[in-house]
């Protein structure tokens, strides 16, 4: 742009702002990215790279916002969803987030995906006072309203899940010897911390082996071999879908039959069990908090039919047996609820205030699981249900439990 055009644009912008200020009703307060007819929301998702399996979450969120926009938007405003690829690489996330905040001037960053990626922008978002809302990771550190008032998670924290797995082992496995495979970052280590906390003093005796891997590693075969050789009879798998599928294949290949505990992050028929082999994935135990869309029983329910109708109309390319598409549906609904509660007061501060003021039941969550937040509780979902995969679908092993 040459100077003349830039100057005219600047003049026009000042004039527009002046007019807007003059005509603004006292009730309407707008943060960056908000107008009378639109709300700009930013997001980073891995559409390429080692975690590309999660890319469908970003697409399903976009599809849900398309539905909301078609039905009139939120209080008359259309959602402008700007989602950028970060390839699950922390420096790329920092670059894209900075672009969204400083160049695109979004109101907030919603559902950034990944633990290492969100860690890279954690301090930045809080320093800049931009909401880092409903991050797509369960790391426990996202629920600290005192130190990081602008960041909030959504799903049950990994430590909570680790504790629930620990409880399961203590109740159901005689003489347990646990071997752990975990991703070498905050996400993987969080689960291990939760498990060890639940096992307490016995952790040192029960956990016989711990093997870590890097997200950039091509395979985890050597780690699985080491775990089998440790004599473990319980295998706690804390890995993302690509590696979980590899782990399942390798465990069966080695003719090893431990009690297979799989973190909820990789508890997906479409992304993990099908690629690994449905037969090989039999008997895998995990924890769920939303309805299993692969279960024929679920498919008879009204909530499922509504979900499927949405998929057919707005995300026809999406996989109907990929649980991430139900996850995306649910988080998008949560975001819409927050924006609706904010009404015409769409400043960043008020958005965070309403996010910390949720008491919500969504029909695709398991009955009994609720979304509750308060000024001191930044963990929206804290209840889960143990399930076992029987080769076709997840079978409940008891009821919804809470870690507290």
């Amino acid at each position: 742009m040459n100077n003349g055009k830039k100057f005219t644009l600047a003049l026009a912008a000042v004039a527009a702002m002046g007019m807007a200020a003059g005509s603004a009703v006292a009730d309407k307060k707008y943060g960056p990215g908000v107008t009378d007819t639109s709300i700009k929301i930013g997001n980073t998702n891995p559409y390429s790279g080692p975690a590309a399996a999660y890319g469908t979450i970003g697409k399903s969120i976009k599809a849900y916002f398309d539905k909301v926009n078609k039905e009139g938007g939120i209080n008359g405003r259309m959602i402008e969803f700007v989602t950028l690829d970060d390839g699950y690489s922390p420096p790329k996330t920092k670059e894209q987030t900075r672009k969204l905040v400083e160049q695109d001037k979004v109101l907030l960053i919603f559902q950034g995906l990944g633990t290492p990626t969100n860690s890279a922008v954690h301090n930045y978002m809080n320093k800049k006072k931009v909401p880092q809302l409903f991050v797509a990771t369960g790391a426990t550190k996202w629920g600290q309203p005192d130190e990081f008032p602008w960041t909030m998670g959504w799903q049950p924290s990994y430590q909570t899940e680790g504790k629930l797995f620990g409880a399961y082992v203590m109740e159901n496995v005689k003489d347990p010897k646990i071997g752990i495979l975990y991703q070498n970052d905050d996400y993987g280590k969080d689960y291990v911390v939760g498990l060890k906390e639940k096992l307490g003093d016995k952790a040192g005796d029960i956990i016989v082996a711990e093997e870590s891997y890097e997200v950039t590693d091509p395979t985890i075969n050597s780690q699985i071999i080491a775990l089998k050789n440790s004599g473990a009879n319980v295998f706690f798998n804390v890995s993302t879908p690509k590696f979980a599928a590899q782990a399942i294949k390798k465990v069966r290949e080695l003719d090893w039959n431990p009690v297979f505990l799989n973190n909820s992050v990789s508890n997906s028929v479409g992304s993990v069990y099908k690629p690994a082999g449905l037969d090989k994935s039999k008997g895998i135990v995990s924890l769920q908090y939303y309805r299993d869309i692969t279960d024929p029983e679920t498919q008879k329910t009204e909530p499922y039919k509504k979900w499927k109708a949405w998929m057919d109309e707005y995300y026809p390319d999406g996989d109907l047996i990929n649980t991430f598409n139900a996850y995306g549906y649910l988080v998008a609904q949560t975001m819409v609820q927050v924006l609706e509660q904010a009404g015409d007061n769409l400043t960043r501060e008020n958005v965070m205030k309403e996010a910390a003021n949720l008491n919500l039941e969504l029909d695709m969550l398991l009955p009994g699981v609720t979304i509750e937040t308060s000024a001191t509780d930044f963990y929206p979902i804290e209840k889960m249900m143990p399930v076992e995969f029987n080769g076709e679908k997840m079978v409940p092993l008891g009821g919804v439990v809470s870690a507290n």
């Binding site: 100077n3 830039k6 559409y47 390429s48 690829d85 690489s89 922390p90 420096p91 790329k92 920092k94 670059e95 900075r98 672009k99 400083e102 160049q103 290492p116 860690s119 890279a120 954690h122 301090n123 930045y124 320093k127 070498n184 970052d185 905050d186 870590s212 890097e214 997200v215 950039t216």
Partner: protein, 335 residues
């Protein structure tokens, strides 16, 4: 009437080198005004272009002027960046001082690497530097050093507030302030490089590149010059790395993979290997073109980048600086 021979000879050899003050002055004025007429994010991008230009100039001193092939400059960039980050994060050093410290640490690292590398020529040196480049990200991620380096998640560092007098009187933003700092550092380093190239040492460096045996026979201490050039080259790239850590306010191992070495190399070739100011064009290329390629197609961004690169090399085989030189000669003939 001029003969062909006179036109082709490098004027620097016959007339003695002179800085073209007019062009430099124009450049300084335009560069100084830029951050005040564009948006903050664009200033930030231009700052990154200058940082890349400094790193590319470092590589140019080694490869373009001294003939030592290096695929490992991402390692020196990383060392500079992490030196700055670790000093600020763990030891609370003032941010500004970490820039020269990063440079000095890299000078030592470069010199120490250059010494055993004396035995290696061409392809073998390339391989040795390649090994350095791929080792560094993994070393940075390793659990043994995690407490220091922050592992995969890296380290955040925050820039200190701008001196109040500048904010009050000029309404300076953080992006503008660091653009100016980088601009001044870049001008300084470019001037030093120009003086180096046009001195006896510079001629010795180029002699070693052009004909190492003849150079040694003339009494040039080849080993010393080659190691020192490695050190100086690493110094430049280290300063660039430290600046990048500060301006981006974040370091992580994935920012410094072998791909960065290749990008710097691409910047060197596209800018022009024998030229100092060509590094700026190289920096511009490696910042802008990947972004353009991603906009054309997310899935095929590398393929698009490759096509653009091939076209550029085809149109300008001796880089942008080479193209300008050819145009200058052609224009002189016409007028």
């Amino acid at each position: 009437m001029t003969t062909d021979v006179e036109v082709k000879s490098d004027p620097r050899l016959t007339l003695g080198a002179r800085i073209n003050f007019r062009w430099v002055a124009v450049f300084i004025v335009l560069g100084a005004v830029l951050p005040f007429v564009v948006e903050g994010y664009t200033s930030f991008q231009m700052t990154l272009v200058m940082i890349y230009a400094i790193a590319i100039l470092g590589l140019n001193l080694l490869t373009g002027f001294n003939g030592q092939f290096s695929l490992g400059h991402s390692a020196f960039y990383a060392i500079g960046a992490y030196t700055a980050a670790v000093l600020v994060y763990h030891l609370d050093f003032p941010v500004y001082i970490t820039i020269p410290i990063g440079g000095v640490v890299c000078f030592v690292a470069g010199f120490l690497f250059g010494l055993p590398a004396l035995r290696l020529e061409g392809l073998y040196l390339a391989l040795a530097t390649f090994a350095l480049a791929v080792a560094i990200p993994q070393i940075l991620k390793s659990s043994h050093l995690e407490d220091l380096t922050g592992g995969v998640q890296g380290l955040d560092i925050f820039r200190p507030d701008i001196p109040a007098v500048l904010v009050d009187n000029f309404d300076l933003t953080m992006d503008q302030w660091w653009y100016i700092i980088t601009f001044v550092i870049m001008l300084l380093l470019f001037w030093v490089a120009w003086n180096l190239i046009n001195s006896r040492s510079g001629r010795a460096m180029m002699a070693i590149r052009d004909n190492p045996i003849a150079a040694q026979s003339m009494g040039i201490n080849s080993s010393l010059y080659k190691s020192l050039t490695f050190g100086v080259s690493a110094f430049y790239t280290g300063i660039a790395g430290a600046l990048s850590a500060i301006v981006i306010e974040f370091v992580a191992p994935d920012s410094f993979t072998f791909q960065l070495s290749i990008l710097l190399f691409i910047g060197l070739v596209v800018g022009g290997t024998g030229s100092i100011w060509g590094a700026l064009f190289g920096g511009l290329f490696i910042l802008m073109v990947p972004n353009i390629a991603e906009e054309v197609s997310t899935g095929l961004s590398y393929a698009v980048f490759g096509v653009i690169l091939i076209l550029v090399i085809y149109v300008m085989p001796s880089g942008f600086a080479g193209l300008i030189n050819i145009l200058k000669v052609r224009l002189r003939r016409i007028f």
